[in-house]
């Protein structure tokens, strides 16, 4: 998943960013709302992690204006405001989840996976494609009960296909999911990872749509 992290505390932000990267998602981290607005407009994100009290304004008004503009990207609020009225206000403004600081990083992972699953129309973490058993929560793939090892990047790519069955994704879209802004992307990275996935999971797992991109194979 590609995640936008809006958090002005540098120590907390760094830990959350590292944790998200370690869970094989890509993340852009901004510390101000004006930057968040610019990033949201320039790229497609799967999820926004939003702090409430930021140097240039309140996260809640940012969320409201985001929803008003018709942006449906899931938002998880990360905040020090722990009162129930803040929580109700946050959820009413269109947040998908509301976590109060301090929180466990493992808890954060669980919540963001849950929200992402909800949005991909597949709230069930266990998916079967062909003879593959995929656990989106545990991030594992198995064939006939035998687990198949995927690297973090391979998993991130594969998850993107599983979450959008039938949808064609361009190379650029896939690259965006894999890398945060500024990260080095070589021209053939996607091809390399797709071919590795086909080798591990079977050739029919991903179809190539010539001149457009890739989609999940219909070998099921």
């Amino acid at each position: 998943m590609r995640i936008l992290l809006v958090e002005d505390d540098s120590i907390l932000g760094a830990a959350v960013r590292d944790h998200i990267v370690a869970s094989s998602h890509s993340v852009d981290w901004v510390t101000r709302l004006d930057a968040a607005t610019a990033y949201l407009e320039s790229a497609a994100y799967d999820l926004v992690l939003l702090d409430m009290m930021l140097p240039d304004g309140q996260g809640i008004s940012f969320l409201r204006s985001m929803r008003m503009k018709g942006c449906a990207t899931p938002v998880i609020i990360l905040t020090a405001l722990d009162q129930i009225s803040d929580r109700i206000q946050g959820l009413n403004a269109g947040a998908d989840d509301y976590m109060t600081k301090p929180f466990d990083l493992s808890e954060l992972s669980a919540r963001l996976n849950a929200v992402a699953r909800r949005y991909s129309g597949n709230p069930n973490p266990l998916v079967e494609i062909g003879d593959l058993q995929i656990d989106l929560a545990a991030r594992t793939v198995a064939r006939g009960g035998r687990p198949i090892d995927l690297t973090a990047r391979e998993w991130a790519l594969f998850e993107a296909f599983v979450q959008r069955p039938g949808q064609i994704m361009s190379k650029v879209q896939l690259e965006e999911r894999l890398y945060a802004f500024g990260a080095e992307v070589e021209s053939n990275t996607i091809e390399v990872h797709v071919s590795r996935l086909r080798k591990k999971l079977g050739h029919s797992v991903i179809d190539t749509v010539r001149g457009i991109g890739y989609r999940l194979g219909n070998a099921r």
Binding site: A80, I88, K101, P102, F103
Partner: protein, 443 residues
């Protein structure tokens, strides 16, 4: 006599009594003056009568002397019989009656004692003399007559008085009541403020004597509101200021655990993590306690606590929905308690039940239509002496578990802050085991 406490009744009473008294005094003085004037008029009529009759009587008597018949006492012929107010006798110097009015009673007339007025016990009498004292006249008027006239006049004065006094009392009462209306409006404005509403009370149309009081009340309300708001934002800000660094430290520590190169480092990092969790829990509880013992526990507008409770239970059961069984009334439950204060109270009761209850049975949370919150948990019963100590700060039931021992103290502080109470019951009603914490919002 007990003086009435109400300003309205006091004013009505004193003004009414004052008016009545003044009126009565005026009536008495008038009556007195009138009586005096009347006496003068009556006296002058008496004198006039004597002076009119005497010359005629003298002529009559002299004429009679020529006839030589001088022993006859004569009464004046009358046209017809009638009641007389004035009776008179004409007598010679020896007191012999020469002439008298037909109704004259001789016993009434004392002997002549010089020209002028004289009083007997029953009559007012005027004497006059002619022909150098050889003929005298005495005209008598009964005092009863004068008294009757005076009484009639007095009655004429008193009768309207009897009508006017109640009327003026009523008028005074109505005027006072009308003038007090803005004060009553002001008072009910203050009364309607309730616990949470600290907006200024409208002071329009108040009399200038009361206006400064209204201003002072409004200033006080404004100051109170600002103080409470400052306290509230202080609590919220310090929560933010504390939570963010703790969150940063915890997240960094958890990254450290994940990235630690060896088991020893990982173990150390886990100790830091545990300490940080403890720190965060304790600071959270202390903040809640400060909030509970501070102001702003009452909401400006009624709050649907059922919604608050549902959101709270949703949050608390994110990991395991089977932990808590929530029973809500069908209709919204409105209460004057601040939503956040209620959430803190309910959270502490539920956390307490989760911590001390049995793992095999869910905690039961029930909110009745009258706002009574009951939290039940299974587990061994709590002895009575322990039950009494439980709500004290830093008292941990059973001493095991990781709580700061502040939960019930926080709930109790919030409950008493809004005029309600917390009741602890163990064992549960109709059971041998378990524990029930009950929040009763008022009285």
């Amino acid at each position: 006599m007990m003086l009435p406490r109400s300003l309205q009744w006091r004013l009505s009473l004193w003004l009414g009594l004052g008016v009545a008294l003044l009126w009565a005094v005026a009536a008495v003085v008038t009556a007195h003056k009138l009586r005096h004037e009347m006496n003068e008029v009556f006296d002058s009529a008496l004198e006039e009568t004597a002076q009119r009759i005497l010359p005629l009587a003298v002529l009559d008597i002299i004429g009679r002397d020529h006839d030589g018949d001088d022993d006859a006492e004569q009464s004046v012929a009358t046209l017809r019989r009638h009641d007389e107010y004035f009776t008179y006798v004409v007598r010679d110097s020896e007191g012999k009656v020469l002439l008298r009015s037909h109704n004259a009673d001789l016993a009434v007339f004392p002997p002549f004692a010089g020209t002028g007025f004289a009083d007997t016990s029953t009559h007012r009498i005027y004497f006059d003399a002619a022909l150098r004292g050889t003929v005298t006249i005495a005209v008598a008027e009964p005092l009863a007559h004068r008294r009757a006239v005076a009484e009639e006049v007095l009655l004429g004065l008193a009768l309207p008085l009897g009508l006017v006094i109640p009327l003026s009392l009523l008028g005074v009462w109505a005027v006072v009541r009308l003038s007090m209306a803005p004060i009553r409006t002001f008072r009910s404005g203050i009364e309607a403020r309730g616990g949470g509403d600290l907006t200024a009370v409208a002071a329009d149309g108040l009399p200038s004597e009361i206006r400064p009081i209204a201003m002072a009340v409004n200033h006080l309300l404004e100051r109170l509101r600002r103080t409470l708001e400052a306290e509230r934002s202080f609590t919220a800000n310090s929560a933010h200021e504390l939570r963010t660094p703790v969150a940063a430290a915890l997240a960094q520590t958890q990254r450290l655990i994940a990235e630690a190169p060896n088991e020893a480092t990982r173990r150390r990092a886990r100790h830091i993590e545990t300490a940080l969790r403890r720190l965060s829990r304790l600071s959270e509880k202390l903040m809640q306690l400060a909030r509970a013992e501070g102001g702003r526990l009452q909401a400006a507008q009624p709050v649907n606590v059922a919604t608050v409770l549902r959101v709270l239970v949703d949050e608390m059961t994110m990991d395991d929905p089977k932990q808590i069984e929530l029973v809500l009334a069908d209709a919204p439950v409105f209460s004057d308690i601040d939503a956040d204060a209620f959430a803190i109270l309910a959270r502490n009761l539920i956390e307490n039940a989760l911590k001390h209850g049995s793992r095999h049975e869910p905690v039961r949370v029930a909110l009745s239509a009258d706002g009574v919150l009951r939290v039940f948990n299974a587990g061994s019963a709590v002895p009575a002496d322990m039950l009494a100590r439980l709500a004290e700060p830093f008292e941990r039931g059973g001493a095991q578990g990781e709580g700061a021992g502040l939960g019930l103290a926080i709930a109790k502080a919030i409950a008493s802050g809004i005029g309600g109470r917390i009741e602890l019951v163990s064992p549960r009603e109709g059971r041998q085991d378990g524990f029930e914490a009950r929040f009763i919002p008022d009285k």
